[in-house]
């Protein structure tokens, strides 16, 4: 199996498996006051430092969660609940992950007005539109750094600047960019371990100092009362090592991704690329071909792991909201494939996959 679905999840790094195996027997509850509990707490503390370092932050708080979805829910619902009465709008983009979009839309019932900004054909929001939407009636601006379907890197610094002018709180879904790109200067940042070769089941929300949130869930008072539930030293340690590896291997990983990208562009030269080409994370290649039935192609190319859009929506058969948002017509979106590659992808694998994909596409065309 050739795995080209790095935006859905990434292979577990062997170093991470080793670290988790080593910590599996630290069985204490990190909240227990006795020595065995403190050993577990030390694992969590070390992991927290490593994730903070990978984020490039030495201030603020890092709250461990079960993943990015929970971190994003906590940030959005918390920011809404903490917002002053005059701020009842929540601004986000049409291309956000459902963990953001659905949560923002759900706040309608709590009296908030979702403001969903459109994007251009390149996947980027028009700065004038953003400027017009953000003012002192806005409680939160939530923007994704790197899009999970089309890899487009949003002009996030500019958007955060607009929000700062109006005193608007900011949240960045940095899941895909974490460990790869510089961390945006948002008030809240959501990340997850399994997109950087760490385990599933752990993520984090970083909060700037002074950026307080009411908790989403209640319980034992863990994570400074912000997030209940016993933390897993094993998962935290896996996340910590994955974050540390991302830092140590950043230059090498990025160079490798660049080489893969360059080769992939050649291999898929006669396909159209979805979204901006220059402003993009090169570990993602979302492409399309007129008249193609991509779902059929994926089921034909059985030895390559590919996707249509995000994994979450893959099973649903819904057309991708991201491809729609960048203005693709339904039949164009139907011909779109997402490929993601990175640290453990070999050039030969990419070449082999491209041969299979191009062959299947050609056969579809011949049959048509």
């Amino acid at each position: 199996m050739i795995y080209l679905d790095y935006q859905a999840t990434t292979p577990l790094a062997p170093e991470v498996t080793t670290a988790m195996t080593a910590v599996m027997d630290h069985y204490g509850n990190p909240n227990s006051a006795h020595r065995i509990g403190r050993i577990a707490a030390a694992d969590v503390a070390l992991a927290r430092d490593r994730v903070m370092a990978a984020l490039g932050r030495d201030e603020g708080r890092l709250i461990f969660t079960s993943g990015a979805t929970e971190a994003l829910n906590m940030a959005i619902i918390g920011a809404a609940r903490a917002a002053p009465a005059g701020r009842r709008r929540i601004v986000t983009l049409a291309t956000e992950h459902p963990a953001v979009l659905d949560t923002v839309l759900s706040l309608r019932h709590a009296g908030f007005e979702p403001v969903i900004l459109p994007v251009e054909r390149d996947g980027l929001v028009d700065p004038d539109i953003a400027e017009a939407a953000v003012d002192d009636r806005v409680a939160l601006l939530a923007v994704m750094q790197v899009n999970n379907e089309i890899g487009v890197i949003q002009s996030i610094d500019h958007l955060l600047g607009i929000a700062n002018t109006w005193g608007v709180r900011t949240l960045c879904d940095a899941v895909q960019g974490f460990g790869r790109l510089p961390t945006p200067d948002a008030d809240m940042i959501a990340v997850t371990a399994h997109k950087i070769h760490g385990p599933k089941g752990v993520g984090a929300l970083w909060l700037r100092d002074g950026s307080d949130l009411p908790p989403l869930m209640h319980g034992g008072g863990q994570e400074a009362g912000l997030r209940p539930g016993t933390l897993s030293p094993m998962l935290c340690a896996g996340f910590g090592v994955a974050a540390q590896l991302a830092v140590e291997r950043r230059a090498g990983d990025l160079a490798h991704v660049e080489a893969l990208w360059t080769r992939a562009r050649d291999l898929f030269a006669d396909w159209s690329v979805n979204g901006s080409i220059p402003q993009r994370y090169h570990g993602n290649l979302s492409i399309r071909r007129a008249g193609l039935d991509a779902a059929r192609l994926i089921s034909q190319v059985r030895t390559v792991a590919l996707s249509l859009g995000s994994a979450c929506a893959s099973g649903s058969g819904r057309p991708s909201h991201v491809l729609k948002a960048i203005g693709l017509k339904d039949d164009e979106a139907r011909g779109a494939l997402r490929m993601g590659f990175g640290r453990y992808t070999r050039i030969e694998q990419l070449e082999e996959a491209a041969a299979l994909i191009n062959e299947a596409a050609a056969m579809q065309r011949a049959a048509a």
Binding site: A8, D25, A33, S66, G221, P228, G229, S307, G315
Partner: protein, 350 residues
Amino acid sequence: MKSRVYLDHAASAPLLDAAREAMLDGFALWANPSSPHASGRAARAQLEDARRRIAAALDWQGHILFTSGASEALAMAIGQTTSATVLASATEHDAVLRHVPEAHRLAVDAGGHALLPDEIAPGTLVAIQHVNSETGMIQPLDALAERLHAAGARLLADCSQSAGKLPLPQAADLIVLSAHKLGGPIGIGALLVRDLALIRPAGGQEQGYRAGTEAMPLARGFAAALEALRDWLADVAQWRVALDEAIIRAGGVVVAGDGPRLPTIGSYRMPGVSAQAQLIRFDMAGIAVSAGSACSSGSLRTSHVLAAMGWDESAASQVIRVSMGPETRPADIDAFLAQWQAIATDMRSR
């Protein structure tokens, strides 16, 4: 690590070998279980296999929704409930109580038994834990469920402490589980739902009732832990009875000692000696026990459980909890008892 005596299984139990093996195998299939390609489907197959095995181990016919743990499962059961009113017994875990206003709490008697009000509106959701995490006291859930169902109400049973040790309260409508209390990994739990109409949908995973990429290796560890043999329970039950008697002989008090309790938990008051002082001495002697639940053991709050049972603050502040597991040996209990007697003698003579 065995050189230390670990008697805090109710806070978190050591990972069972079978659970460790199951997770290590699971790590090899790291694809996203929601991906439709072959790698994703292989991970999905393992996830669903774990779900089926958990259902079989518990003899549960309803739905099983995986969560990140019991706190999240409780938050889901209450936060996504379709019931208009939620009541909870006053001795529930904080993960329940923080979601339920003071006025909606059910009193308990001196033995910790939840007292149902005479009138319960149809459709009300009532949260009563199976086993109290601090005292080990067992609520008669089948009888309570019968009364609740007669009134058209529903039972939410927090079985974090009892699952894998006592039969599941099959009459409950919603059941909460935590893997790490029964030898599985930390970071996964489940909400068992008899009828999905009892909760509102939210999110794209877990049949549309939870959002977030599924942690398949943890689910496998959970299933393996539940399937493990419980042949050690009978021994532990005997040792606990003997320990209760020895503590009483030494001048201690067994909390909730009159009713049925989980065989793995003992809760003891040492009159005149604060739990804090006891814990320091036990820890110095290499014995890990706790005062109340781990979550609050960092803080010095008095136990809300003992307060609800009518204990005054000073007596309640002298209670510690011992909790045993499969690797507990008589020598561990002996070490604890000897230390308990030493502390009691020592502190009294001051």
